[in-house]
């Protein structure tokens, strides 16, 4: 049995929680707030600070490392996430990272599936249970709440302008709900369909699965799908297709 320290984004909360419970390994999970990828340097700093605390045994959200209760590795429930993970390093533990741009590949079950869908439909907004529960997702109600907030802060004219400019929803043409067999939420599918109607998008129900994330949790860290960064080395970008590599 491996003792694995999971650092994951709350956008993967249900999926990672599900796999944590089922895993044959011991998974000690810390979740960070969704949305930090909008400021990649802040996400990077937050993750590095977590790793530093875990290295020093000072993290109050982790099992205190003793004798038989230390970690075998840190596993990240993140992709590149706007390159926020570049430069992360642990002094004490190997860090294992899935090779993918962001969480969508982890929901779909493989990076290949994500790239295939993206190349066919680049204007897709993704929905799934953890996103709907932990992140801003475009919907009539959320847009109305945002307009109200912006109007209070910046005035009506400015609020209209921000909505027009900020909402890349105008450039999207479809939304896709990623469904896992184990996570049955018909109300979230309905929520996504309503958003599609409101924004004039096509709706797609896409079957995902836990294969990619399971491999992360079960220690099946094949080189083509995962980067294992030895302790003392750091995550570096890689531009020939592997996305990331380890360097001094």
């Amino acid at each position: 049995m491996l003792r694995l320290k999971l650092l994951a984004c709350k956008a993967l909360y249900r999926e990672c929680s599900l796999l944590s419970v089922k895993s044959k390994n011991y998974i000690d999970a810390t979740y960070l707030q969704q949305g930090l990828h909008d400021t990649p340097s802040l996400l990077h700093d937050a993750l590095q600070a977590e790793i530093d605390r875990i290295d020093e045994g000072k993290d109050l959200y982790s099992c205190k490392p003793r004798f038989d209760k230390d970690f075998d590795a840190i596993i990240l429930g993140y992709g590149l996430c706007s390159n926020a993970i570049v430069g992360l390093s642990s002094k004490k533990y190997d860090i294992v990272v899935p090779r993918c741009d962001d969480c969508i590949a982890l929901f779909l079950g493989s990076y290949e599936k994500y790239r295939k869908y993206f190349d066919a439909h680049s204007g897709t907004y993704w929905y799934n249970p953890s996103w709907i529960e932990n992140a801003y997702t475009p919907s009539k109600e959320n847009d109305e709440a945002l307009i109200k907030e912006y109007t209070e802060k910046y005035g009506e004219d400015n609020a209209k302008y921000i909505m027009e400019m900020e909402h890349t929803t105008k450039n999207y043409s479809r939304c896709a709900y990623v469904e896992w067999d184990e996570l049955n939420f018909p109300e979230y599918i309905a929520y996504t369909k309503d958003a599609a109607d409101y924004f004039g998008w096509e709706f797609d129900l896409v079957g995902g699965n836990s294969a990619f994330l399971s491999d992360l949790f079960e220690g099946n860290w094949r080189e083509e799908h995962f980067l294992v960064v030895p302790a003392g080395k750091k995550i570096a970008p890689e531009y020939t297709g592997k996305l990331i590599e380890a360097e001094e």
Binding site: D102, S122, G123, Y161, I162, M165
Partner: protein, 211 residues
């Protein structure tokens, strides 16, 4: 100068109406359009740019500041044109193929125009060949590419390669930017300049045009 500081201040607060009024007042008081642009509007946008970089303000504040800048520019443009202020240069701007995000790109457009650079904005999801064809037909000095996704960043490499294939690489400077883009990436794909925000992009673009 107090009125220019006020213009800068109102711009930073996103008060488009106040900026417009004060820009007109400054012109009426005899200040030159270029001085109002540089020390009022661009000065205010630069401060916002630094604050955005330091995560002290976020996208909505930058957008309304840009809107206020546009409002001021509307008053200044006819004056700048009639004073035969020459265009400093031309840039072809767009978000790369597969990417639909345009906020950053739109801010770059505003800042480039503020520096007197003509911008041909190709929008989003722009094919590499389109960047090159437009730059050639418009005699532009600069191609400026934006991407928000690590998934689409590699399309910037395609733009560089397209320029090489058309035999025009040495006639253009290629600038890249966007949240996941880095200087290391820029170098790895053979582009010329990486900038981290719209304000510094416009500084670099101006240097290119004046070189």
């Amino acid at each position: 100068m107090s009125i220019l500081n006020d213009i800068s201040g109102f711009l930073q607060q996103g008060r488009a109406k106040n900026v417009k009024e004060l820009v007109q007042k400054a012109l009426d008081e005899g200040l030159s359009a270029s001085q109002i642009l540089d020390e009022g509007l661009l000065a205010g946008m630069s401060i916002i740019g630094v604050k955005f970089k330091n995560n002290e303000v976020y996208v909505p504040e930058v957008l309304i500041a840009a809107r206020a800048m546009n409002a001021g520019m509307e008053i200044l443009k006819p004056v700048l044109v009639s004073s035969n202020t020459q265009s400093k240069g031309k840039a072809v701007l767009g978000t790369v193929k597969g990417d639909l995000h345009d906020i950053g790109k739109n801010l770059v457009k505003i800042m480039f125009e503020g520096k007197g650079i003509d911008v041909i904005d190709l929008g989003v999801d722009v094919a590499p060949e389109k960047f090159i064809e437009t730059a050639v037909s418009e005699n532009a000095q600069i191609i400026a590419c934006s991407a928000l996704l690590t998934t689409t960043m590699n399309a910037m490499r395609d733009v560089v390669e397209a320029a090489e294939q058309k035999g025009v690489r040495d006639k253009l400077k290629i600038m890249v930017g966007g949240a996941p883009v880095t200087d290391a990436f820029c170098k790895s794909i053979g582009a010329d300049y990486y900038t981290s925000d719209a304000a510094s992009a416009s500084d670099v673009a101006l240097q290119i045009c004046q070189a």
